[in-house]
């Protein structure tokens, strides 16, 4: 099963890269055949690395939630970009490293959350504690309210990204 999934993904990527090469749909025969051979070779080599144990991410519902999340994420990203641009120009920064507990269980959701946090301007994931999955975030504009309690509230830092990461890959 892992072999088939890896081969299909590799073949699709090859087809996307060679769009417009011929007249058979959008490809020519040589590309289609060579792509299939390469996909099989690649799948045989990397199937244990590409997919670890579970095939949870094959569920189309998760992809659909991920697409919804993309829109929300780009909106948050645009908002934060304008905010950071303002801070660059005025120089009003208040930086610090805060610890949040997103309570995520597996690596996939943690990766998704860390990448979302880093891509949102103003927050940057610095480190992860392997046992508890707590994350350390460098935040360019620390709000004083957040510092009062020790398990920091993550909503001012990264909206509700942890909840979405749990829904998508949890």
């Amino acid at each position: 099963m892992r072999f088939i999934v890896t081969a299909v993904v590799a073949y699709l990527l090859y087809l996307v890269l060679t769009i417009g090469s011929g007249t058979l749909l959008l490809w020519n025969e040589a590309e289609l055949i060579i792509g299939a051979i390469f996909a099989l070779v690649v799948a045989a080599l990397v199937k244990n690395r590409y997919l670890k144990k579970s095939l949870r991410m094959l569920n189309p519902v998760r992809w659909f939630i991920w697409l919804i999340y993309l829109f929300l994420f780009f909106f948050a990203m645009a908002q934060a970009n304008v905010d950071v641009a303002y801070r660059v120009i005025t120089g009003r920064i208040n930086p610090g490293i805060v610890k949040i507990s997103p309570r995520l269980k597996n690596d996939m959701s943690l990766t998704l959350l860390a990448n979302s946090i880093t891509l949102t301007p103003g927050t940057l994931s610095v480190d992860v504690e392997e046992e508890t999955n707590d994350m350390y975030i460098h935040w360019i504009n620390v709000k004083p309210d957040v510092l009062k309690e020790m398990p920091r509230d993550y909503h001012p830092i990264c909206n509700s990204f942890p909840d979405w990461a749990r829904r998508i890959a949890g």
Binding site: G20, A78, V84, I89, P95, I97, T118, G122, L124
Partner: protein
């Protein structure tokens, strides 16, 4: 075609603005973490809009010329470049920040540092 050209110019303008802000912040901010914010985030957004301009322009020519146009390669590859840029930019910023903190770089003017003194081994 006129409206699409305007969209392209707007995208290029927004992209250039954020790239300029990013390089400005790189000079202005005090330490490695805040500079990473400016250098990676603003330029991600800026480059994203520049790539979107390329996609809009080439996709419109692709639609006009039909499926076999050579512009298809340009727009598809631009989309792939955008995805790869988003993934690698976040990952490399994360790696640089982690390495900086482990080698003892303190965040300048920090109001709080929860990671201070934590000994994290793997």
């Amino acid at each position: 075609m006129g409206a699409l050209n305007i969209v392209t110019y707007v995208f290029i303008g927004v992209g250039l603005f954020f790239n300029a802000v990013g390089s400005f912040g790189l000079n202005r901010f005090p330490d490695v973490y805040t500079r990473l914010h400016a250098a990676t985030k603003c330029t991600t957004f800026g480059s994203m809009f520049l790539i979107l301009a390329v996609i809009v322009q080439s996709a419109s020519i692709w639609v006009m010329e039909g499926a076999l146009s050579s512009q298809s390669v340009l727009s598809i590859h631009a989309i792939i470049a955008l995805v790869v840029l988003l993934i690698t930019n976040a990952t490399s910023a994360h790696a640089i920040a982690r390495a900086a903190h482990r080698s003892g770089e303190k965040p300048a003017r920090a109001v709080v540092d929860d990671l201070e003194g934590k000994d994290i081994n793997d």
